[in-house]
């Protein structure tokens, strides 16, 4: 009656009912705890660098060299086409400490530049991202941060683009549903593109 096989089976059965139940309870607390959070976000644009890339493009300063390298990396195994690119320097003060709770494994924080063009009705480009895994690091405070990724367009033309910069964060839980939130909004026009 009470063989080794029986005992093992009962134990496994118990584990397979209690553990999922606990995990579901944990996952359900997430939205409730998140409702209480009040993140504060402040974005300020310091500078926008705009350039037109062509094969004759010779970077004259450090900033242009960075943009050049990023643009080239964007086109592996092929010659990069002529095209507009923009890089931004920004200040960011984002206090996401209250977003952290016991079911937050990681916050993936990213700045999104969103713009519209006559032909492309919807464009979103991530210009910067940051990974937070500890509550202590959840207050991001930076001056003159350089964006990691270039703003580019599908047809490679950015002239006259008027976009919005917003901070998003993606909450990756210990277990449960992934949640995306956003806050803050700054209008950043790309007015002129210097060409060569």
């Amino acid at each position: 009656m009470y063989s080794f096989y029986n005992r093992g089976s009962t134990l496994l059965n118990f584990l397979c009912t209690v553990l999922p139940a606990l995990l579901i309870c944990l996952a359900l607390t997430s939205p409730i705890l998140l409702k209480k959070s009040n993140p504060e976000v402040n974005i300020n644009i310091e500078n926008v660098y705009m350039k037109k890339f062509s094969s004759a493009f010779k970077p004259v300063n450090e900033k242009e060299a960075i943009m050049f390298t990023k643009y080239i990396y964007h086109y592996p195994y092929r010659n990069a086409p002529r095209g507009d690119m923009a890089l931004m320097d920004f200040d960011l003060d984002a206090d996401l400490t209250s977003v952290f709770n016991w079911n937050v494994k990681e916050l993936f924080v990213y700045l999104v530049y969103e713009f519209q063009k006559p032909k492309q009705e919807f464009n979103q480009v991530v210009i910067w991202d940051y990974i937070i895994t500890d509550k202590k690091d959840a207050h991001i405070k930076g001056k003159n941060i350089e964006s990691k990724y270039l703003v580019t367009a599908l047809d490679n033309k950015l002239k006259g683009v008027q976009g919005n910069l917003t901070l998003y964060w993606d909450i990756i839980p210990n277990t449960g549903l992934l949640i995306q939130k956003s806050k803050g909004n700054v209008v950043v026009p790309i007015t002129k593109i210097e060409s060569y």
């Binding site: 990681e106 990213y110 999104v112 009705e121 990974i131 998003y168 992934l178």
Partner: protein, 176 residues
Amino acid sequence: MLSSLFPGKSHREIAHQILNIFMIVTSAFMSWKALSVITNSESPIVVVLSESMEPAFHRGDLLFLTLPKQEPFVVGDIVVYKIKGQDIPIVHRVLKIHKENGEDFILTKGDNNSVDDRALYNKDQLWIKKSDIIGKVKGFLPYIGYVTIVMSDYPKLKYAVLALLIILMFFEKEEN
């Protein structure tokens, strides 16, 4: 012949056991397909195989995908896509989206990679389209999928476990 393999069991009992095994296999297959219909994704549950999304997802984490028809893709979504001509699905985050005439042009990047995914796409390919995407990651369960990684790394173990399960099913005594 079968009765000599399983002494002390009648033909009916053996047939019953075999049908039972088929029941388990078909109901597992049915629930998988039902989940696939509900989530509109050809593969609603996937196991993370690479380290390119660390520290968010580790090898062996289980991801639950959906692909609702009306829901648009936005930047920051973690998607699972399969490039035409390649077998292995990739779990990465959307870095850029451009929409032209209702068609999405999507560029992805792994959180743990230093450059975007264009080097992973086909040679003449700059963007992925909606048709390349299997699903959006909506839910997360850690570690459970590691079993399947071990199984595919050691195929012999997989067959051993399968054989053991089948043998156990045959010798299971029903207590009424």
